[in-house]
């Protein structure tokens, strides 16, 4: 926490990988200043290639969305709403609600991860700390994880970028964590808008933060952590102001494996039906 200096969970060394402790990210947009240091630190540490510069004109966001070469993405929302008890408007004029919200988006590291379930090669695995990791040397680039992620996070890296053809996403800095270091994005976050730590601690801290904000006039502050859907919660969860749709977050994300039962039932019924139809056609007509 801010003020704890080197004793903050964002700064001190840990042994979570060794101790099999579930870890997480808690991202709080109310303290984010939109500096994008997390994006830069992520690219630098993980050697994620440059995937082009495009002016999108979406407020100060020129990153667009998460992808194979963008593992942290700061969103910039301009909304006609009140931000806490702040009053915005020109001097002497009427109060004119307006807020500028920044949120650093990242792979959610789902409890029930669509990409992990879908991966046919076993390239995508769950680590000791509960994060979801793509083993690049195993991935053959089939692309099935891409359509199985309910958050649209993972993607196949196109040519001519380095290591093209494989699926990429946030690794939760597994390499750093194994050495007792904090993920690069959390380490550099100057306001601790991104907090890294034990998942249970973070969840408790996040609930407290929501209460604190509500008392300070942030009536629409809520946690985005889909515990009651088939995703069963996420390791990288968010505090949001307003509805998830405005952040491009699905309101009720579902892991695609919930569709398997009805789809396979239909497939097996069709197979049996085809067999019966062909048998009947030959039995009665030949």
């Amino acid at each position: 926490m801010i003020g704890e200096g080197t004793q903050s969970t964002n700064q001190r060394r840990h042994s979570y990988v060794h101790d099999n402790v579930e870890v997480g990210f808690f991202t709080d947009p109310t303290v984010c200043i939109g500096c994008k240091a997390c994006e830069v630190a992520c690219k630098e540490w993980n050697d994620v290639p440059d995937d082009g510069f495009t002016w999108l004109g979406n407020s100060y966001d020129n990153t667009g969305h998460l992808g194979a070469s963008t593992w942290r993405h700061v969103l910039f929302l301009e909304q006609d709403q009140q931000k806490g008890e702040q009053i915005v408007g020109s001097l002497g004029g009427e109060a004119d609600p307006f807020r500028w919200v920044f949120l650093s988006d990242v792979c959610k590291h789902c409890e029930e991860a669509g990409c992990l379930e879908a991966c046919p090669t076993g390239s995508i695995v769950r680590t000791e700390v509960g994060s979801v990791l793509v083993q690049d040397d195993v991935c053959n680039g089939c692309g099935y994880c891409v359509v199985s992620c309910p958050f649209g996070v993972i993607n196949r890296r196109p040519e001519p970028l380095p290591n093209a053809g494989g699926a990429f996403k946030c690794t939760f800095c597994y390499d750093r964590q194994k050495s007792g270091l904090v993920p690069a994005c959390a380490k550099v976050c100057p306001t601790e808008s991104i907090v890294f730590g034990r998942l249970d601690d973070l969840r408790a801290r996040a609930s407290e933060r929501v209460e604190e904000l509500k008392q300070n006039g942030y009536a629409d502050a809520q946690l985005y952590d889909p515990l009651e859907t088939s995703v069963r919660g996420i390791h990288a969860f968010f505090l949001i102001l307003g509805e998830p749709e405005a952040y491009g977050l699905p309101p009720k994300p579902q892991v695609p494996t919930i569709h398997l039962k009805s789809a396979w039932t239909s497939a097996i019924a069709t197979a049996i039906g085809a067999l019966i139809a062909v048998s009947c056609a030959f039995a009665f007509l030949s």
Binding site: L77, L91, F98, V138, G143, V147, N155, P251, K252, Q254
Partner: protein
Amino acid sequence: MPDEHRLDELREQARNKGVVAGRGVDIAGGPIPRKLATASPSGGRPGYYGEPVVRPPVWTWEIPVYFFVGGLAGMAAVIALIGLIFHQGDLTRTATWIAAIGAILSPILLIMDLGRPRLFLNMLRVFKHQSPMSVGAWILFVFGGCAVPALIALELHVHQIFTGGFDQFLQIAASLLILGSAFWGMFVATYTGVLLGATAIPAWFLHRTLLPIHFGVAGLGSAAALLELLGHRIAPLGALGFLAAGTETALWIWLEIDKHGKADRALRESGSGLQIRCGEILSGPLALILRVANLVPLAGISFLLGALVSRFAWIAAGKVSARDPEAVFASQR
């Protein structure tokens, strides 16, 4: 400077209370966006500046062509088996050829589409029942392992290359391998519907029950049509052609009734919607009418074309649907 004075006040208030409840300062030309009367959140676009919520498939033309070839080959193997049981030797031979050629083409198409084709064998590194991609890779592998040797054994037997006991062995082996390829072929033709149905893409998962039926029936009708076009103009195949075209017509009507509004609008709107309709009409009502008019070859061509077009159409619809944030929101709210 009144602004500076006001800033001092705000600083004082922030120090004392921790919260600033008062009007701030607008700096003309400052870097902070100011609300315009005409501004609307996300520039009037849905979600976050209209950015997609889920990712469109990265698959290219190889995948829909594979759906077509695999469905055709898988159901041809079923016809080969039933033909064998009812002593239709010639038909079984042609159908086994189709199954074997399809079983060779299918993995080639799939490997071509991989991001890293040289690592294709990693598909057989694990078996995961919860991944239709993994189950499908194994089904296709076993199907190929039956269909290709079945053809070799059958041809060796038909041409009487060996005599006596070994020829008898070849005959039995061919029969068993045809049985195996028919069993796995049924699933090669239908699992592809599960592959699309069990994803996060609204236009696909909302129709997860229809897709395996559609792909399976399209495979069966294609196999019957191709066999007819190759000269096997027999009553059972004609009946299967009728059944497939009739079922495709029924599925078309089902798709017209089972609408999910914005969530699956990719199936009705834009280019993908047009493709879906073209595919359904070619393999449904048009093929049916041509069959009723006794224009069997034309009906067969129409059905095959429709089966191919609709495979492309479903992939195209998936891409449109994934790029549509409103479709994702509508499927969840």
